[in-house]
Symmetry: C2
DNA sequence: GACAGGTAGTTGCCGCGACAACCACATTCC
DNA sequence: GGAATGTGGTTGTCGCGGCAACTACCTGTC
């Protein structure tokens, strides 16, 4: 209402816009490359990464959701789509009648093992090859600061 | 295939994950706050910003697309939704029979003027208040580097 | 002025994502 | 043990976003 808003400085505006741009371009590019290269979306990839990170390649749906910071409805639908394509399977949880496990299939494991090298290579080429170690360090600090601030309101 | 992939170092992995996390949380939060506070989405907001930046508050659809780095289909649909809500209006371009202008309405101008202060305040609180000027500078460098690298393949 | 190629914009289709409503089972409290 | 409350998952609805197909128009070139 009044004029005592603390607007952004020119530097801040540039940094803010640059960040938004960089993220938009980068994720679009990674998604596209992943899609055409291996038929996976970034979301598929993330799910598969989480499943391969864990012994047995099986997680309760809600655990997957926590790891990915996803809504449960998002988890549910993503798993449905992936299950249709054979990348994962659902299994009832014997110890909890409500629960469901999401299990990595052989085909899912193969898919991510084939997709990962090119994906990582692209992240490296587009992001890290252009940065000094100090910049990498600062990037982590900055991102960390945001996450911490989001934590407390 | 072979094992000569240059995987990410631990530092790089942390920075990468932190970036993805920070962006996911931040944009979710900004979107939510904007939505509940003023009924606008981030996309609505971006369109309105671009229109207010320009004299007369009118842009050809393709110009808007260039400014936002959006697909033309995305522009078209976004404008349709916003036009339904009275935030913008479409106008035929007299000088090009194919063309369409997107025009800021009074109601659109009011909407962004009401939404902007809280939005900027939130960006400041969640992002810039936690950063030193040097960090802001580095953030811009990093993001800029990514955008430049995306330019050339 | 006709035809080829390019450009502006819309639409269909599908995958993605948030929110809310809902179902089923678990837990707690009496 | 039965009601109240909580938790894990699914589904409906709607807005968002990319790609490809399509229409309409413009800009050459001959």
């Amino acid at each position: 209402m009044t004029d005592d808003v603390r607007w952004l400085t020119a530097d801040e505006q540039r940094a803010w816009r640059a960040w938004l741009d960089a993220h938009a371009w980068l994720s679009a590019r990674l998604n596209r490359e992943l899609q055409t290269g291996s038929g996976l979306s970034l979301s598929d990839y993330d799910v598969l990464v989480h499943l391969t990170d864990v012994p047995e390649g099986r997680l309760r749906a809600f655990e997957l959701g926590q790891g990915l910071q996803w809504e449960k409805s998002r988890v549910s639908r993503q798993v449905s789509r992936m299950a249709e394509r054979g990348l994962v399977a659902r299994e009832a949880a014997p110890e909890d009648g409500r629960g469901a496990y999401v299990v990595l299939t052989e085909s899912g494991r193969r898919a991510i093992e084939e997709a990962a090298p090119a994906h990582v290579e692209l992240v490296r080429r587009l992001l890290f090859d252009g940065l000094t170690p100090a910049q990498v360090q600062t990037l982590e600090e900055v991102a960390g600061s945001v996450v911490r601030r989001l934590g407390k309101s």
